[in-house]
Amino acid sequence: EDKEEDESKEEDNGSQQNRASRRKNYQRKNRDGKKAREEGGQKKDRGKTAPTKDQKESENKEKKTTKRGKEGEKKDRKNSTSSGSSNSSDEESLSEEELAMLKEQVEQKKKLISTMRNKPWRMVKKLSVLREAQDFVEKFEGALGKGKGKKLYAYKMMMAKKWVKFKRDFENFKTQCIPWEMKIKEVESHFGSSVASYFIFLRWMYGVNLVLFGLIFGLVIIPEILMGMPYGSLPRKTVPRAEQATAMDFSVLWDFEGYIKYSALFYGYYNNQRTIGWLKYRLPMAYFMVGISVFGYSLMVVIRSMARNANESTADGDDDNFIFSWKMFTSWDYLIGNPETADNKFASITTSFKESIVDEQESNKDENIHLRRFLRVLANVLIICCLCGSGYLIYFVVKRSQTFSKMQNVGWYERNEVEIVMSLLGMFCPPLFETIAALENYHPRIGLKWQLGRIFALFLGNLYTFLLALMDDVNEKLAEEDVVKNITHWTLLGHHNSSAGNDSTVTPPPLDPADVPRGPCWETTVGIEIVRLTVSDILVTYITILVGDFIRACFVRFVNYCWCWDLEAGFPSYAEFDISGNVLGLVFNQGMIWMGSFYAPGLVGINVLRLLTSMYFQCWAVMSSNVPHARVFKASKSNNFYMGLLLLILFLSLLPVAYTIMSLPPSFDCGPFSGKKRMYDVIQETIELDFPLFVAKIFSYVANPGLIIPAILLMVLTIYYLNAVSKAYQRANAELKKKMQMQREEEKNKRNNKASTNPMLEDLEDLLTPSTKTESPPKQAEDKKIESPNGTSPVRKPGRGEVLAGSPMASGRGAAFTPPSQAFVMQPRTLGIRASYPGQPRPWGHPLGPLPGRGRGQPCY
């Protein structure tokens, strides 16, 4: 190999040597692929002035023919034919043997051309070789009559290249299309990956909501608006006469009464006509199916995302042996050319280092375990007390509000008491939880999870009381309905009679829709409540951000000049971005949406708007008025925790909707299901009327409990089986990881041991250097003492040779090893002796070798 490098060194002017070296390169290359040692050659090359490419090319062109001859020679050698020098005459002769040989050469050249890029040669070499190979191929392919084939091949290559390029461009384009990528990167570089994970979650939610909105808007709202009866034609679509005076007032509109209540945004607007428009679009059916599919799609998306996250986290969880090294050497992106991006990158690298340092420190901390456990238990007890207290408080307030609603003159406070109490709880309890959690002293990431869990429990209390109140409302309305039904009936009759009193033949003019007495549409009420809650939630969030973060930051910044203590470091200071609060807000908001989308189709549209503005608003707020956390920590690689929360809320919000669909009768005069006994009757109806007969039969069989119960059992068993299989895979995975780890450790140990023997042996050498050192004489005396009884073998084995040759010595070949008095004479002799015993190949780094030898030295001899 050295010879090879030497040859390549003299590359510049010696054309002969040049060719020879390149020839050798070809040989080696043809034998075994890529050569890393080429770089070694290259490194030495750089010391010389390399000729320019043009010069090389001209040189090469001259030498081409001769070179080709030489190439032919070499390849002949490979092919073990001997007609090397007859290459130039091949064009004429075309004998079969030569044809075959030529073909092979052409193939090899082609391969060379296609793999040229991967060769670690210097540019000049590559160019010349490439040019040469191309000429060769051109020349001889023509001779072989492969002209057309070559063209087709070239065309195919070109198309393949173009396709690859196109794919790459498309991928780039797709990544560019992802919205807000730059914004999130900016936030990430300043605040760390945990804050950025919130924004990524927000963006994902936005995507899901957009899809849901598209579904609902396209399939339900638009058809109703375009093809349904217009406003004012039906009682359900008109504002009642009594309310018309105030219907346009802003306060009424703000409460979602008035015109908004009787618009496509809410359930009550929809007509129960079976098909509408010229398309015969089955609106009630569509409404029902869209409602179901909203939940179905969300479920699918959440679970798919969880599965993907789980996949990712197991995939690259094990390569964490080189975290810091990789961070140091591969984190800078050399493509950055923009100063701002560079700033961001610096910030992100710093943050990333800090994160890793925190991780590292956490794993090194070890404290009093008992104290920690006690503190944690204490903290949990406190928090459970708080939660129970807040739950009771909410219950109490709701009960009171029910008695209030029976009273006549209720003040503003009493009316809104429930909402106020809930908001107050929501504002003060989380910080309380945080301060208590300081007792627990967890790693920030784990602490975040606990915090999230606790606030979740708190908000669940809110949700449950809200639902209770709503259910009470609904039940009331249902009772009312019967009454109103009768009233409506009688009113209509009365109206007919009165207007038909004069001439009984003419159909009476229909009652103006505004005058028809209206039943209480409980679905719309539910929808309105939920929309109101959502809107107030949005407002509260925005105001909190504005006041809590922005105003606070302004206050701290500007008033700091004239304040007694340092505001920035002391009490208010700048706010940190509250990840847990925001995430939970988002998750609960989404739960509301899911609950309400069945009763208020327009809610999803409102939510889409809200998420959009939220993104920009919060990004701005974070960048302008928040400071990074004191302890920057990396978000857990899998966002499965957030997804888990989302899944839970999805399930929880599915329950009320499913319950109402299944067991409550729809209102008799509003909504797409009015008149039916239960909402799901619409499916029955559709199957009976629209589908051919056998479909109905199939469905009736399928719905048979005798079929469903075994199906459920089967599914349960499948789940159990898949669970067991996945556990087995995980175990196997862990075993493999452990094995790899052990291997790496062994490798390290091997090499380390080699090194570690050095200092040990150096010490020994120190000890045994001749009498200039004071410790050596006693050691030597010891040696002599120990050696004398056993005159055959030296005990002390200074120097590597003796240590390793310990056991052969012990095995009785001691005759040759007369213990000399001077240690340094020992060394060369034993070394020489070792060399003369090639039969005992002892590896240098053998970990067990030196120690036993040394250990045995003392007692046994």
Binding site: K34, A36, E39, K43, R46, G47, T49, A50, P51, T52, K53, D54, Q55, S58, R117, N118, K119, P120, R122, M123, V124, D316, D319, N321, F322, I323, F324, S325, W326, M328, F329, T330, S331, W332, D333, Y334, L335, I336, G337, N338, P339, T341, A342, F346, I349, T350, F353, K354, S356, I357, E360, E747, K748, R751, N752, K754, A755, S756
Partner: protein
Amino acid sequence: VYRLHGRYHEMAPNVVPMDYTKDPDVKLPMQLIINMPELKENPFKERIVESFSEDGEGSLSFNDFVDMFSVLSEMAPRELKAIYAFKIYDFNTDNFICKADLEKTLNKLTREELTAEEITLVCEKVIEEADMDGDGKLGFADFENMISKAPDFLSTFHIRI
């Protein structure tokens, strides 16, 4: 390549000739090169230029220039990039990346925002992770071993021109 030559030329039009057949001995000084927009923001720009320069001073002839960009392009093979990366991070050019080199690298990467103890912690961790032969500094074999397992080395060690 013509593009590269164009860029090289426009950096110092009066010095760089358009015609290379006579093999002129032209070198551009480091200052000009590190002002190229592709390199301007790079914290390691001086080291990059130095490691490709033949005379070690930082002046690049056209061949060195082409070499530099070809190694840093996305087509270059991994081993080649690893070799040059090693040279770049080896500040004192002793063919080992010792602790002082690591500290300098870290400071350049974070623009000296880390505290001294954080810096020592990180450098110690790096040596602990990557040093296989236990000599307290990274030789080329250690570096290569570590880099070959890194997932994003190829994509970050890459300049487009």
